[in-house]
C-alpha cells in the first residue's frame, strides 16, 4: 500500500465510523434536539472524511468537485440544524427532563405574563 492508499483508508474508515456513531446516537438518544446533534454534525464530519479519502484517490480534476460537495455540506448543515432545532423546540420535540437550565423557556414565560 502506498502513502496515498493509507491516507485514503484512514479517511474512509474513520469517516464511516463517525457515520455509525452518529446513527447509533440517533437511535439511542431520548429527544429530538439531542438526536439532531447526533445526526447532523457527525454525519457532516464523517462525510467530509469520506470525501477526503475519496479525493486523494481521484485525479485532481475530479477531486475539485468533491471539495465543492464538502463545502456545500459545511454551509448547509448548520442552517439545517438551526431551522430543525427551532421547529423541534416549538412543537415539543424536547424532553424537558434532560435540560438542567432553559433560559429560553424562562424568557418565553416572562414575555407572556
Amino acid at each position: 500500500m502506498s502513502v496515498r492508499d493509507w491516507v485514503s483508508a484512514v479517511g474512509l474508515i474513520s469517516g464511516a465510523l463517525f457515520c455509525v456513531i452518529g446513527a447509533w446516537g440517533m437511535v439511542r438518544l431520548p429527544d429530538t434536539l439531542s438526536r439532531l446533534q447526533a445526526a447532523t454534525k457527525p454525519q457532516t464530519l464523517g462525510l467530509l472524511l469520506i470525501l477526503a479519502g475519496t479525493a486523494v484517490r481521484l485525479e485532481p480534476h475530479f477531486a475539485v468537485g468533491l471539495v465543492l460537495a464538502g463545502l456545500f455540506q459545511v454551509i448547509t448543515a448548520p442552517a439545517l440544524s438551526q431551522l430543525f432545532g427551532r421547529a423541534a423546540y416549538r412543537t415539543g420535540g424536547v424532553d424537558r427532563s434532560t435540560l438542567v437550565v432553559d433560559e429560553l423557556a424562562q424568557r418565553l414565560r416572562s414575555g407572556r405574563e
Binding site: 446533534q37 448548520p78 442552517a79
Partner: protein
C-alpha cells in the same frame, strides 16, 4: 467595472467571483469558455435573485480566514469526540442546557456566519436568535454542573469572537473583544447562567407542568389518554418511547 455601475450596489464583485468559481468547480474545467458562461450565469442569478447589499469583505484578510478555518476544524473534531465520549459514558442519557449568550456583533452577516460556525460543532447549536436584544439561545449537550455550563458559555463567546475578528471590519474586532470580556464577567455575576444541579424527579415534573401551562396546548397532557383529535397515537407513542429509553 461596468456591471457595478449599471446595477448599483446590487451586484457585489466578490459574490460574482464566488459564483463563477462554484460554476467552474461544478464543471471541473478551467478554461475561458467556462468562465464566460459562468460569468453570464452569475449575472443572471444576481439580477433575478438580488441579495441585500453589504460590504462583504471576507477575502480582505486571507490569513485570518485560514486561522478561522483551523480553529473551526480543531473545534469540530474536539467537540465531536467530547460529545461521543459523553454520550457513550452516560449510555444515551442526555443532560443539556439552553443558555442565553450575548451577541458580539451588530452586523447581520457577521452574526449569521458566527451562528453557523457555532452550530457546526457537535453538541452545540444556536436555537434562537433574538436580534433586537442581541441574545442567542444556545443549546448545548453534556452540561451537568454549573462549571460545565460556564465552560460551554465561554466556548461560545470565544468562538464568536474569532469569527468577528475574521469577518468583521477593523473597528468591530476590538469592540467584540471588550464585549466578550464583559460577557464573561457578567456571566459570573448573573444568577440566570447558574444552572441547578441535575434536578430531582419532582422538580422536573413541576417545571414540566409549569411549562405545559404556559404553553397551554391541547392534546399535550401527560396522561396521554385525552389527546386532541388530530393525533392520539402520536402522543401515546411519545410517552411510551420516553419510558422505553430510560
Amino acid at each position: 467595472m461596468p456591471r457595478r455601475r449599471r446595477h448599483g450596489n446590487r451586484i457585489a464583485p466578490s459574490l460574482m467571483i464566488w459564483l463563477v468559481v462554484v460554476w467552474m468547480l461544478l464543471w471541473g474545467t478551467f478554461d475561458v469558455a467556462t468562465a464566460v458562461y459562468g460569468l453570464l450565469v452569475a449575472l443572471i442569478v444576481l439580477v433575478v435573485f438580488p441579495l441585500p447589499s453589504h460590504r462583504w469583505n471576507i477575502f480582505h484578510r486571507p490569513w485570518r480566514l485560514v486561522i478561522l478555518a483551523g480553529y473551526v476544524i480543531v473545534d469540530l473534531v474536539g467537540s465531536a469526540v467530547r460529545f461521543f465520549v459523553d454520550t457513550l459514558r452516560e449510555s444515551g442519557r442526555v443532560s443539556a442546557a439552553i443558555m442565553a449568550v450575548p451577541v458580539l456583533s451588530d452586523v447581520d452577516h457577521v452574526i449569521a456566519s458566527a451562528a453557523n460556525v457555532v452550530s457546526l460543532a457537535p453538541g452545540t447549536f444556536v436555537l434562537q436568535i433574538d436580534r433586537s436584544r442581541g441574545i442567542w439561545y444556545v443549546y448545548t449537550t453534556g452540561v451537568r454542573t454549573a462549571e460545565d455550563a460556564h465552560k460551554a458559555y465561554d466556548n461560545v463567546v470565544d468562538m464568536q469572537h474569532v469569527v468577528v475578528w475574521a469577518f468583521g471590519d477593523e473597528q468591530e474586532a476590538p469592540a467584540a473583544r471588550s464585549r466578550a470580556e464583559e460577557a464573561k464577567r457578567e456571566r459570573d455575576r448573573s444568577p440566570v447562567c447558574r444552572p441547578q444541579q441535575p434536578s430531582p424527579v419532582a422538580a422536573v415534573a413541576a417545571s414540566e407542568a409549569e411549562f405545559r401551562n404556559a404553553e397551554s396546548r391541547n392534546g399535550e397532557s401527560d396522561g396521554g389518554g385525552e389527546a386532541g383529535a388530530d393525533g392520539p397515537d402520536d402522543v401515546a407513542e411519545v410517552d411510551e418511547n420516553r419510558r422505553e429509553d430510560r
